[in-house]
Amino acid sequence: MSSAPSRLEAAFLKGHPALVAYLMGGYPDRAGSLAALVAVACAGADVIELGVPYADPLADGPVIQHAAEAARACEGSFGLAETLDLAGEAAALPGMPPLVVMTYLNPMMRMGLAKVGQKAAEAGVAGFIVPDMPPDNPMAVQWKREAVARGIDTVFLAAPTSTPERLAVVGEASTGFVYVVSSLGVTGERTQLPAELTDLVARVRASSPLPVAVGFGVSTPAQAATVSAIADGVIVGSALVRRQDDPSALGEFVGQLVSAVHTGGR
């Protein structure tokens, strides 16, 4: 715990809560997703999560699901390899915040975990989020070996249903930050955030010294401000992907989220 914070962790330690912006790789096409990355970076997002289009996205709601379908339909099936390549190009641009790849496990298994680690490191990827890879299974252990060796963080998820035992496992295994799933179900915009969120965030904090970021269901600047009062980071996905085919509208919206989050809570 005494070692210096990673690039990803440091993005949450700038003296204000961080905005984590999720975008879908390859949507509406490769050039469009690169333009979206630039727009979001210019608007001041502190971390960018880059989703890998996948055919069976178990944890994602309709907006992200349909963006993934569209991305897979064009550009000769955009997948993990193409997303890492896109991340590499984006990471080389000035002012780009740390990039975190969000992918389901099977594309990683298919490519081979060692090769994923190698390509991600070459691309300058700061971390991975793998929603169908709980921290205590053999593939997670294998992946973490690859990731740690290359200075790549692995962010695990804590859920409203998590028991103290599960939170301990998640807190122990995570590096960079801990991703708190605000509510049951899949990703997507919700009109209300659950009342128990404050308690959940407090329980996660008790289980890990890492920054805590909240996602799933956060879609407006007002909600983002509310969440930033209790967490170190706010993750917004579907509300951005919905605007991803229009970089200027996207940038403007992210700008609003950034000011809400940076000044919101404290």
């Binding site: 069976d56 944890a59 496990l105 099977n106 709980p134 593939m139 998820l157 859920a159 249903t161 599960r166």
Partner: protein, 410 residues
């Protein structure tokens, strides 16, 4: 006898390791949200299996409600037609609701009740697991929703109507190809959202641990009964045992007791028939074991039909029950170890076998079970005219009338 029909807790947990792996396959690859529910389910299953009252109640319902034990019927005209010494059919088609699925649905719905869950959900392909779960839910007074792909709703409309009659809600799934894999994804997503008050009744030996073990535990009554009846009938030698494999629940239910109770030397050849659709050399099939490579889908690691980027592919089969790009993890392990052999059967061969059993024995099998029947002529050529075979007729064909008629069988 009632106890002999049921697996003990020791049986059910003897082959997956503590993390739910069968060799390299299996495991738990799900969102963190449902991890506590899976742990709770493991505990509830273990405690139920050790509870004499639970086992007695399940035994009672299997006997008086489902109609077990299933007969082991000697199909003499069938054997003669294919050139085998004897073919014994395990008549799961005679079960209440018409297939083996009820063995598992009843067990899991009883578990749901025991865990205090008032609502169950299920995925279904052919509709047999949906009907069985809707039936068990009606019997136990549970609310029930069944997820079914739109393509399967089209080809199995009779079962859709049955589920609704039984009081279940049928949720159409219009994603992907609108078949079993899509229905399973939709059910899993829904479970993540409603995990606190809802029990997910998985219909095959698939899904995250402990589901494959639980489904095997409730289905191995098939093989246990078969072994008892072979003994009663003084049949001391069987050359091969055959079952069809989609996810693989009737097959594991049949094979597991043979693997467990018989030493390698006296064990019959165990053979699973998976769906070759239009042929395994085309891209229209469901032969995960023959043509797939290991991958993760629906919470477990096993053989999977997938593209180079690791996306699961759409499967195809004339049989909605075998139309699935993955296969249960224990089958992956049994394939690798050589303990079970798996062969692929085309739509055309299955249809031919469907007609053969219908005409020689007056038994109309499910199109799924017909895939197993289609192996008989091949095995006659391989094992000779004196060979004795046991074949699991996993379900009856009433639901398949439209499909068979559409395929031009007269």
């Amino acid at each position: 006898m009632s106890d002999a029909l049921l697996p003990s807790a020791d049986d059910a947990y003897s082959s997956p390791d503590a993390q739910g792996f069968y060799g390299p396959y299996g495991g738990t690859f799900v969102p963190e949200t449902v991890m506590p529910a899976l742990a709770e389910l493991s505990e509830a299953y273990e405690s139920a299996m050790q509870d004499a009252a639970f086992r007695e109640r399940l035994s009672y319902l299997l006997a008086e409600y489902v109609g077990r034990p299933s007969p082991l019927y000697k199909a003499e005209r069938l054997a003669e037609a294919v050139g085998l010494g004897a073919v014994y059919l395990t008549r799961e088609d005679l079960n209440h609701t018409g297939a083996h699925k009820i063995n598992n649905s009843l067990g899991q719905c009883m578990l749901a009740q025991r865990m205090g869950k008032r609502r169950v959900i299920a995925e279904t392909g052919a509709g047999q697991h949906g009907v069985a779960t809707a039936t068990a839910a009606a019997l136990l007074g549970l609310e029930c929703a069944v997820f079914m792909g739109v393509e399967d709703i089209r080809r199995q409309s009779l079962n859709v109507y049955k589920m609704k009659l039984l009081g279940a809600e049928v949720v159409p799934v219009d994603e992907g190809g609108g078949t079993l894999a899509d229905a399973t994804t939709a059910a899993l997503r829904h479970w993540v959202e409603r995990v606190e008050d809802t029990f997910y009744v998985i219909g095959s030996t698939v899904g995250p641990h402990p589901y494959p073990a639980i489904v095997r535990g409730f289905q191995c009554v098939i093989g246990e009964e078969t072994l008892v009846q072979l003994e009663v009938k003084n049949i001391d030698h069987v050359d091969a045992v055959i079952a069809c494999v989609g996810g693989g629940s009737n097959a594991i239910g049949m094979f597991y007791p043979f693997l467990r109770h018989l030493p390698a030397g006296s064990r019959p050849l165990l053979i699973g028939a998976e769906a070759a659709g239009l042929g395994v050399e085309t891209d229209k099939h469901g032969a995960a074991l023959t043509k797939g490579t290991p991958g993760v889908m629906h919470g477990f690691y096993s053989y999977l039909l997938q593209d180079d980027a690791g996306n699961p592919l759409e499967a195809y089969s004339i049989s909605a029950g075998l139309d699935y790009p993955g296969v249960g993890p224990e089958h992956g392990s049994l394939k690798d170890s050589g303990l079970v052999r798996y062969e692929a059967v085309t739509d055309a061969d299955a249809l031919e076998a469907f007609v053969l059993l219908t005409r020689t024995e007056g038994i109309i099998p499910a199109i799924e079970s017909s895939h197993a029947l289609a192996l008989l002529p091949r095995l006659a050529a391989e094992l000779g005219p004196d060979a004795v075979l046991v074949l699991n007729v996993s379900g009856r064909g009433d639901k398949d009338m439209d499909i068979v008629r559409e395929a031009g069988v007269e």
